[in-house]
């Protein structure tokens, strides 16, 4: 965890550049990286997607399986979001990443859950006895920052066209899973006093904090997470909120 002079100099350069409104990959501060998406890639998953957001790459697989409901929510399905920060995705993943992985999975989970994209009551098979378990597993293959936004995108795209696999469990014909509108997650890093959208790993490394917001189609905030030892003025948070709302609209439009 010691930092050599070269790293320190490069960090300063990244900061200085952003201070003048520019970024090392020639994006403007509010610009996302190019996105490539493939879906339906895992035959044994009920839904799947591969997302490449600049140098960040991940695969999401979704499974539906009968499960027991929670006693305090007998008529609702159960949902689990997991993430694997595979050691092949970054040289810095050569250690225990429980805490990092847990935060990402939980923040992404909250955004999906509270957006209403999935009505958990529609995942009920027999109240109090049997419900659908919805397993959302994220598998990170290349880490170049902003795993939050790519993960939510991957999940949302994997859910599209999802069907209850009734036939696989001897429960009749498959039927479509009703889905609400998709949430979009947007992450900003604070560098040199500026908010930059969709930070790379390098930008995250020099940032003074990160703020992640999940926005639903009505523009409502569904999840927020400040992180990375961040400190933001209330005005910066509100500005991030405005930027997130407008960016979410653009993302949503692009994917339709």
């Amino acid at each position: 965890m010691s930092r050599d002079p070269e790293t320190i100099m490069r960090s300063q350069m990244v900061r200085d550049l952003i201070g003048t409104g520019r970024r090392r990959d020639h994006r403007s501060l509010g610009q996302m990286r190019p996105l490539v998406v493939e879906t339906g890639i895992i035959a044994q998953a009920d839904g799947s997607a591969r997302v490449r957001l600049g140098g960040t790459e991940l695969v999401v697989g979704v499974k539906l399986m009968p499960a027991n409901p929670y006693p305090d929510h007998p008529d609702e399905g159960v949902m689990h979001t997991g993430i694997r920060l595979s050691p092949l995705a970054s040289p810095s993943f050569d250690r225990d990443l429980d805490v990092e992985a847990t935060e990402i999975a939980r923040v992404v989970d909250r955004g999906i859950r509270h957006s209403g994209m999935i009505d958990m009551k529609r995942l009920c098979i027999s109240p109090g006895e049997r419900v659908w378990g919805l397993y959302l597993d994220i598998h990170v293959l290349d880490h170049d920052g902003n795993l939050f936004d790519a993960s939510t995108l991957g999940i949302v795209l994997s859910l599209r066209g999802l069907a209850f696999p009734n036939s696989r469990f001897g429960m009749g014909e498959d039927s479509p899973v009703p889905l609400g509108e998709m949430p979009v997650t947007l992450t900003f890093a604070k560098v040199a006093g500026e908010l930059i959208l969709d930070p790379t790993a390098e930008e995250e490394g020099v940032s003074d904090g990160r703020i992640t917001m999940t926005i639903d189609p009505r523009g409502w905030v569904r999840a927020v997470q400040l992180g990375g030892c961040g400190h933001f003025t209330p005005e910066e948070v509100k500005r991030a909120h405005q930027l997130a709302r407008s960016s979410a609209e653009v993302v949503r439009g692009s994917l339709r």
């Binding site: 909250r110 509270h114 523009g219 905030v221 927020v224 992180g227 003025t233």
Partner: protein, 270 residues
């Protein structure tokens, strides 16, 4: 901030911008380098700080600053159904966001290659534990004599029946539409803890944030008071062990050292 109050139905009769009763004490443990105990509504939380010190696992250290390592733990009896002991995903995440928020408050660059352990024990949980823990933790850090940039003051904002309310109770948290814990550095006004889930309309978000920040300033006054009691002109000369609040009206102190301490076994043995 307009308050609409109890007639519109907060379950515990509070007005919308009213915080539950808080008791906050600094310097309550003997062994910990710094400590604080907070009762916030029915939350009961103990925080103990050790450090700066060298950890056994050297690979954790940072050459340029101290590592603030917060461990948030809930007692098995702190919630309605017994919680299995040990860390779970929720406490891992809370530990992380508390660690990050507190890192902003401590002058970590003064203590390179060390670790500052902030141990949070939730003895009873009643919604808002992370804000209560953060509020007590920064008092415990100050009590440990660590050089600090600022305290961290925290309070949650909730959405109940579409209304923005301060410091939601357990019922409001469970059946409400949203929960947004906010923590600030009071002197700069910067936000260092911010989480949210639920639903906040485009116009509500800013208002909720402002309400939370304002509440944090009220919390800050309580923190100052707690530190004044301990370190002010009439400073406590020793560790004070405040009584815990009982949950029934009856006196829950069944034996006290105010009374003559019974000298058990004395004559029996010698």
């Amino acid at each position: 901030m307009a308050t609409r109050g109890a007639e519109q139905g907060r379950t515990d009769g509070r007005s919308d911008d009213e915080i539950r009763p808080i008791r906050l004490h600094a310097g309550v443990l003997n062994n910990a380098h710094g400590s604080a105990y907070i009762e916030w509504g029915k939350n009961k939380i103990m925080v103990g700080v050790y450090g700066p010190r060298r950890p056994s696992r050297q690979e954790l250290l940072r050459s340029d600053r101290a590592l603030v390592r917060c461990t948030y733990n809930m007692a098995p009896f702190s919630v309605s159904d017994r919680k299995r002991p040990g860390r779970d995903r929720r406490s891992l995440e809370i530990s992380k966001v508390l660690s990050e928020a507190l890192t902003n408050a401590v002058l970590v660059e003064r203590f390179p290659r060390t670790v500052i352990d902030v141990n949070v024990e939730v003895l009873e949980a009643d919604a808002g534990t992370r804000c209560a823990a953060l509020t007590a933790a920064s008092v415990a850090l100050a009590d440990a004599g660590l050089q600090m940039r600022d305290l961290v003051s925290a309070c949650a904002v909730g959405v109940v029946d579409g209304r923005i309310v301060l410091d939601p109770s357990r019922d409001e948290d469970n059946f409400g539409d949203g929960d947004m814990p906010v923590g600030i550095l009071p002197s700069s006004g910067e936000i260092v803890l911010l989480q949210m889930d639920g639903a906040l309309g485009p116009d509500q978000f800013g208002a909720a944030l402002d309400l939370g920040v304002e509440a944090c300033r009220r919390i800050h006054a309580l923190q100052r008071d707690a530190l004044l009691v301990r370190y002010g002109p009439e400073r406590a000369s020793r560790i004070e062990k405040p009584h815990f609040s009982g949950y029934e009206d009856t006196d829950n102190i069944i034996m006290d050292d105010e009374a003559d301490p019974p000298v058990w076994g004395e004559e029996a043995i010698r």
